[in-house]
C-alpha cells in the first residue's frame, strides 16, 4: 500500500489546510453549544479543503474524534452513529448540498476510525462500525472506478471527485475482501463496455492484487472472475508468471523456440480479447515479434481472418505503428490496433495514407506540452498520440468524456472513428500540428482559435490522447455554431448537428420540447415520426444506415430530470428475447445507468456490441427529445398505434416530463402516474 498514501507530513499544502482545520475545530470545541453554529462554517470549509488534498481523508480520519467532540455533528442524526443507516449514507454523499456531503463524508471517516480501533466510541462498537463501512462501500462500488456521471457533475461539481477519493480511502483501509465479489462483478461490467481509458480499473485490479499477495489478508474463498482480471495485467503467461519485470521477460523471450513463443502469443491474445485489458508484457512481446514472423504477430494480436489479411496487406504500416506506438506504458493500444485491423478500415483508401501521415506528424510545442503533462515523458508525446489514435480507431464506442461537460465533442469523435475514420485522422492532424481546427457552418469558416469559449470552462486532463488534443477545439467550434444560431426560432441543434457531425446527419429535425417554455409540445407527432423512421416494423425493415446524433433528457434513478445529454443512435433491432431495442452510444464513461421508473440501460446480455447501451424501443423513445431524420425517407406515420404512443407518453409523464406538461393539456389528461391512456 506504500504507493497509495503520500505521507501527509510531506505535503506543505495539506499541512497548511490541517492547521486551518485544527484552528477551526479548536474554536468550535471551546464554544458552548449555542455558539457552535458560529464556528461551523469554518470547520466545514476547512474540511472540504482538507479532503480535497491528497492524504486529506487519512488526516480527517485521525481527527474524527476531535471533530465529533468539538460538536461537528451536534443536533444532527450523525450525532448518534448507532442509528445511522448505510443506505442513507450513500444518499447523503450524493446530495447536492455541499454541507450534507461533507458531514456525511466526515461521518464515514469517523466510522472508519471507530472500525479500525483508533477511536473508541461510547455508542457504537468497532465491529458495528466495520460492518457499516463495508456496507457503504459495497453499495457504492461504481464510485471506485468511474468518473462522475452527468447527474453527479451537474449536482455536485467538484465534490464528486472528493467522494471518489473518500471511497478509495475507505476501501484501502477497511479492505476490499468483504466486498470483493461485488467489486469483481462491477469491474467486469465496466470492462464489457470496452472503454478506451482503463486506468481506474487497472488501479483497482492492482490494488486487489497487492491485497491478495499480503499474507495477513484472507480474501476468503476464490471469487469468480478475479483471477482472470489479475492475470490479464500481471502474470498472463508462462514467461511473465511472477511479474518478473520487462528486462527478464525479454531475455526469456529471446531464449524461446517458436512453439513456446506461440504459446505466449495466444496466451496474451486470449487474455486481451477476454477482458479488454492489455498487460505491459504483451506490448513487449509485440515489439519482440517485429523481428520474427507475421504469423506470430497475428497470433499475438488475436486477429480474425479480416484482421490477418489486413495486417499482411499493410505489413509495413503495421510494423511501423507497433514500433512507434506500442510500448509497455501504452500497452492498451495493442487492443486498439487489433480491433482496428479486424474492422478492416485500412481498406478504405484514405485511411492507410492518413496513418502514414500520422506516423510522420510533427506536433506543435503546445500539443507536446499537453500530452507530456497528462501522460508523462515516456514514451514521447508522438507515441502517446499515435497510441491514442489506434485505441480510438479500434474502439470507437470506447470514447468517454471524462469529468467534463463535453458530451457533444466526445460523441463527434466517436462517430467519426466509427463512421468516417479518415476525417477523424484529419482532425487530429489539424489539432496536433496546427493548434487550430477550422470547420464550416453554412458556408462560413469557424476557427477554433477565434472562438473564445466553449461549453467547458477549463482544459480537460482526464481524457484519452486524441480527445485531450481535439476536444477543446471541437468544444469551442460547437459553442460558436450555437452562437451563430442566436435569434433563430427553436432549437439550434437543428442546424448545428448536421454541420458539426457530418453530412449523414438527417436534415429533418424533430423536437418535443418548446424552447421558449420548456414544456412538452407535439409529443404525439414527435413519437409517430420517430417510430416511422427508426422502428423496423414501421419503416419497411430498413436498418439504420448511419449513426445519428440524438438528444435525450437525462434522468436520475428517481426519474428526475437532470439535463439534456448528447448520444448517438447506432442501430435498432431485436434482442435475443425478441424485444425491439435501440442500441446507442453514450459519451458518458459508464453507459449502464439507471434512469428511473424501471428504465435501466443495459450494456451487455441484450445483444449489445462492446460499448453499446440499449433500451427497449419505447423506453428509449421516452427519454428522447431531439432526433434527426432524412426528410425524404417517410415511414408510415399513421400505422403507429395509439397504444404504443401512449405507453411512451406514460414514461415521459412519470419522469422528466412531469412538470413540463402544458397547463391545458394536464387538465384534459388523467393522472400521469398510472398507466392509463392520455
Amino acid at each position: 500500500m506504500t504507493a497509495i498514501d503520500s505521507d501527509p507530513g510531506d505535503d506543505a499544502t495539506l499541512t497548511k489546510r490541517l492547521a486551518a482545520l485544527d484552528d477551526a475545530t479548536r474554536a468550535m470545541a471551546e464554544s458552548r453549544d449555542f455558539g457552535k453554529q458560529l464556528k461551523l462554517r469554518r470547520v466545514l470549509d476547512s474540511l472540504r479543503r482538507t479532503l480535497q488534498q491528497p492524504g486529506g481523508c487519512a488526516a480527517v480520519q485521525s481527527r474524527a474524534e476531535a471533530l465529533e467532540e468539538a460538536g461537528l455533528f451536534m443536533g444532527t442524526d450523525w450525532a448518534s452513529p448507532e442509528i445511522l443507516v448505510p443506505a442513507l449514507g450513500a444518499a447523503g454523499l450524493r446530495s447536492g448540498d455541499a454541507d450534507t456531503v461533507l458531514l456525511e463524508a466526515t461521518s464515514e471517516l469517523r466510522m472508519l476510525a471507530i472500525a479500525t480501533g483508533e477511536y473508541a466510541h461510547p455508542a457504537i462498537s468497532a465491529e458495528d462500525a466495520h460492518q457499516f463501512v463495508t456496507q457503504v462501500l459495497a453499495t457504492n462500488l461504481t464510485m471506485l472506478f468511474t468518473p462522475p456521471s452527468e447527474a453527479e457533475r451537474t449536482k455536485q461539481g467538484r465534490l464528486a471527485q472528493l467522494i471518489r477519493d473518500l471511497f478509495r480511502h475507505l476501501g484501502e483501509r477497511i479492505g476490499y475482501e468483504s466486498v470483493l465479489d461485488r467489486l469483481v462483478d462491477e469491474l467486469w461490467r465496466i470492462l464489457r463496455q470496452r472503454p478506451i481509458q482503463v486506468e481506474p480499473v487497472q488501479k483497482m485490479i492492482t490494488q486487489i492484487a497487492i491485497y491478495r499477495s499480503d499474507p495477513d489478508v484472507d480474501l476468503g474463498s476464490a471469487v469468480q472472475g478475479l483471477d482472470r482480471l489479475i492475470t490479464s495485467l500481471f502474470g498472463t503467461t508462462e514467461a511473465s508468471r511472477e511479474d518478473p519485470g520487462i528486462d527478464v521477460f525479454r531475455s526469456r523471450l529471446e531464449a524461446m523456440d517458436a512453439s513456446a513463443l506461440q504459446f505466449e502469443a495466444t496466451g496474451f491474445a486470449r487474455a486481451m480479447h477476454d477482458t479488454g485489458l492489455v498487460s505491459p508484457y504483451h506490448a513487449e512481446l509485440l515489439r519482440f515479434l517485429l523481428e520474427g514472423s507475421d504469423y506470430l504477430l497475428a497470433e499475438a494480436l488475436g486477429l480474425s481472418n479480416t484482421g490477418r489479411d489486413c495486417m499482411l496487406r499493410y505489413h509495413d504500416l503495421v510494423h511501423r505503428l507497433i514500433e512507434e506506438a506500442i510500448h509497455p506504458q501504452t500497452a492498451q493500444a495493442v487492443y486498439g490496433l487489433a480491433l482496428m485491423l479486424d474492422r478492416g478500415i485500412l481498406y478504405q483508401p484514405p485511411v492507410a495514407p492518413s496513418l502514414w501521415r500520422q506516423l510522420a506528424l510533427p506536433l506543435s510545442p503546445y500539443a507536446r506540452e499537453r500530452l507530456t503533462l497528462a501522460y508523462g515523458p515516456t514514451p514521447g508525446p508522438e507515441a502517446r498520440l499515435l497510441a491514442g489514435v489506434l485505441s480510438m480507431l479500434g474502439l470507437p464506442l470506447g470514447v468517454g468524456q471524462g469529468d467534463n461537460p463535453t458530451c457533444q465533442s466526445a460523441r463527434a469523435l466517436s462517430m467519426w472513428a466509427y463512421n468516417d475514420p479518415d476525417y477523424l485522422l484529419q482532425m487530429v492532424v489539424w489539432a496536433a500540428r496546427d493548434d487550430e481546427i477550422i470547420m464550416h457552418f453554412e458556408g462560413q469558416a469557424i476557427s477554433s482559435r477565434e472562438s473564445v469559449s466553449g461549453v467547458a470552462t477549463t482544459l480537460p486532463t482526464d481524457l484519452d490522447p486524441v480527445s485531450l488534443l481535439v476536444v477543446p477545439h471541437l468544444d469551442r467550434i460547437y459553442a460558436e455554431m450555437g452562437r451563430r444560431c442566436v435569434g433563430r426560432p427553436g432549437d439550434p441543434h437543428r442546424w448545428v448537428n448536421p454541420e458539426f457531425h457530418g453530412w449523414w446527419t438527417g436534415r429533418g429535425f424533430h423536437i418535443d420540447v418548446d424552447v421558449e417554455t420548456g414544456n412538452l409540445i407535439d409529443v404525439d407527432d414527435f413519437m409517430r415520426h420517430f417510430y416511422a423512421n427508426y422502428h423496423p416494423a414501421y419503416n419497411g425493415d430498413q436498418p439504420l444506415t448511419h449513426p445519428q446524433p440524438a438528444g435525450i433528457a437525462a434522468t436520475d434513478s428517481a426519474a428526475r430530470y437532470i439535463g439534456w445529454h448528447a448520444i448517438t443512435i447506432l442501430r435498432v433491432g431485436l434482442d435475443p428475447q425478441d424485444v425491439m431495442r435501440v442500441y446507442f452510444y453514450n459519451p458518458n464513461n459508464d453507459s449502464g445507468q439507471d434512469w428511473g421508473d424501471g428504465v435501466v440501460v443495459s450494456t451487455a446480455g441484450q445483444g449489445e456490441r462492446f460499448g453499446e447501451g440499449s433500451l427497449p424501443f419505447e423506453q428509449f423513445a421516452s427519454r428522447l427529445y431531439i432526433y434527426h431524420v432524412d426528410p425524404v425517407e417517410r415511414g408510415d406515420v399513421d400505422q403507429v398505434s395509439a397504444e404504443e404512443i401512449e405507453q411512451v407518453i406514460g414514461y415521459i409523464h412519470r419522469s422528466w416530463g412531469a412538470d413540463r406538461v402544458p397547463v391545458g393539456e394536464l387538465q384534459a389528461s388523467p393522472e400521469p402516474a398510472d398507466r392509463s391512456p392520455v
Binding site: R32, D33, G35, S46, E69
Partner: protein, 413 residues
C-alpha cells in the same frame, strides 16, 4: 462530548452588561472569566432562556425618561459597566455608565461620539486635522457645498468636480453613505435622508484603527487596511501602511485626549494623504463592522470581545490587560482578510464560488448563501453585502492583491 457548562466566573472581577444582541460577542464572553448579562430586545429572550444566557430585556429606542430605569436595574443587579455593541447603543452605554461609574461626563462624551458633525468639531478643537465639512438640511445645501468645495480647489467651470461625501449623522459605517459628483446626482437623494453630514473628498489612503484603551492608555492598536472601502479589509496592515504606526499612535493619543476617553474601545477612520498627513474621518465607540474582530482573532489568536471586556471592566488590572494582548504585528500568525460580496449581475440564479477563489491557498471559508430572489436590487448608497469570504495567509501584499482580485469575480451567476 460537547461542552455545555459555562466557564468559571471570577467573582473578584467586574460584572459587565452587553448592550445589544450579538451572538459572536455572547459566545466569546460565555467562555471568559467575567460575569456578564445581555441587555437586548424581547425577541432575544427565548433564545437566551433556552441556552442559559443571562439576559435582561430592554428596547433601545431613543433615550428617554425611562433610561434611568435600565441604569438602576443594572445597578441593582451589581453590574459594574455597560458595553455598547452597536452604534445605536453607544448613547445608552454613556447614560448607564454615568450612573454605574458615577461619572456624569460619560453621557456627554457618548453624545459626542454619536453625532458625526459634533464629533468632527470636537476633533478639530483638539488639534486634529479634518477635511472640510458641513451639515445639510436640504438639497440646496448640498449643491452649494459641492460648488464651494470645488471653487476652493480652484476648479474652472467644466473641470470635473471633486466629489463630496454624504453621511447620515448617526448611522454605523457605510450605511447611507453616498458620493456626489454633480448637481444632477443630488436629485436622487430622498428627502427623508436629511439632515446629513457633508464632507470634502480626501484623495488619500483610507484606513481604520481599532484601539483598546485602559486608564487613558492605548493597550493594543490595530491598523485595518481597506483594499476597497465597503468591500474588503485585512489585518495586520501591509508594511507600507504600518510604517505610519508611530504617527497613527500619536493621532489616537490626541483623539483620546480630545474626547477625554479613559477606558474602552475606539474605532476611528483616517485618511493618510500622499505627503503623509493624517486626516481624521470619524470615530466610533463600539466594535467595527465587517467582522474585523473575527479577523483579529484569526490573525493574533486573542478574542477581541474578551479584550473589549477587559478594557471596559474597572476591575481589570494593568498587568492583566498587558498579559492578555500580544505584541502588535510581530505576534500575528498571518494575515486575515475578508471580502464582502455584492452580486455583479442584475439577474442571478445561483451561488457559484469562483474556482480561482475556492482553490486559492489563502481561501478559508465563506458565509454566502444561495440567492432568494433572482433580481438584484440596484444599489444607490453603499448597501449591504451579501456575505463575506474569508482569507488567511502569510504574505500581506499577496493578501491585498487577492482581495482586490475578488472585485472582478462573479460569486452569483
Amino acid at each position: 462530548m460537547p461542552s455545555t457548562e459555562p466557564a468559571d466566573r471570577n467573582p473578584d472581577k467586574g460584572y459587565v452588561a452587553l448592550l445589544g444582541w450579538s451572538l459572536n460577542a455572547v459566545e466569546a464572553l460565555d467562555r471568559f472569566d467575567r460575569r456578564y448579562v445581555v441587555v437586548a430586545p424581547e425577541w432575544a429572550e427565548e433564545y437566551c432562556k433556552n441556552n442559559e444566557i443571562p439576559y435582561i430585556p430592554w428596547n433601545f429606542e431613543r433615550l428617554n425618561d425611562r433610561s434611568m430605569e435600565i441604569a438602576e436595574t443594572l445597578q441593582e443587579e451589581g453590574v459594574d459597566v455597560a458595553i455598547p455593541l452597536y452604534e445605536e447603543t453607544v448613547e445608552w452605554a454613556g447614560a448607564i455608565n454615568s450612573v454605574l461609574l458615577d461619572n456624569p461626563r460619560l453621557l456627554g462624551q457618548a453624545m459626542l461620539l454619536r453625532d458625526k458633525a459634533l464629533m468632527k468639531r470636537r476633533a478639530q478643537l483638539g488639534g486634529i486635522r479634518v477635511g472640510i465639512f458641513e451639515e445639510a438640511h436640504d438639497k440646496g445645501d448640498v449643491i452649494r457645498f459641492l460648488k464651494r468645495v470645488n471653487q476652493t480647489l480652484l476648479k474652472l467651470d467644466g473641470d470635473p468636480n471633486d466629489p463630496i461625501h454624504l453621511k447620515a449623522f448617526d448611522k454605523a459605517g457605510s450605511l447611507g453613505h453616498r458620493v456626489i459628483r454633480t448637481p444632477d446626482e443630488v436629485d436622487g437623494i430622498p428627502d427623508e435622508e436629511f439632515p446629513v453630514l457633508m464632507e470634502s473628498h480626501l484623495d488619500g489612503w483610507e484606513f481604520a484603527v481599532e484601539a483598546w484603551v485602559h486608564n487613558g492608555k492605548i493597550k493594543f492598536l490595530n491598523i485595518s487596511e481597506y483594499v476597497r472601502l465597503g468591500y474588503s479589509v485585512f489585518v495586520p496592515a501591509t508594511p507600507e501602511l504600518e510604517k505610519y504606526r508611530p504617527a497613527i499612535t500619536q493621532q489616537i493619543e490626541k483623539l483620546i485626549k480630545a474626547f477625554d476617553i479613559d477606558f474602552g474601545f475606539v474605532h476611528p477612520e483616517y485618511f493618510v494623504t500622499s505627503d503623509g498627513e493624517m486626516y481624521f474621518g470619524e470615530v466610533a465607540y463600539r466594535p467595527p463592522g465587517f467582522k474585523v474582530f473575527e479577523l483579529l482573532e484569526r490573525a493574533y489568536g486573542f478574542n477581541a470581545y474578551q479584550a473589549l471586556v477587559l478594557a471596559f471592566d474597572p476591575k481589570t488590572t494593568e498587568e492583566e490587560i498587558d498579559a492578555f494582548f500580544p505584541r502588535e504585528v510581530v505576534d500575528a500568525r498571518g494575515y486575515a482578510g475578508c471580502f464582502g460580496v455584492y452580486p455583479r449581475r442584475r439577474v442571478v440564479s445561483e451561488l457559484a464560488i469562483p474556482e480561482e477563489t475556492e482553490d486559492h491557498d489563502y481561501f478559508e471559508s465563506h458565509e454566502l448563501s444561495a440567492p432568494l430572489e433572482e433580481t438584484v436590487t440596484k444599489r444607490t448608497a453603499f448597501g449591504t453585502h451579501w456575505g463575506l469570504v474569508y482569507f488567511f495567509g502569510d504574505e500581506p501584499y499577496q493578501m491585498r492583491d487577492l482581495l482586490k482580485r475578488q472585485e472582478d469575480l462573479d460569486f452569483y451567476v
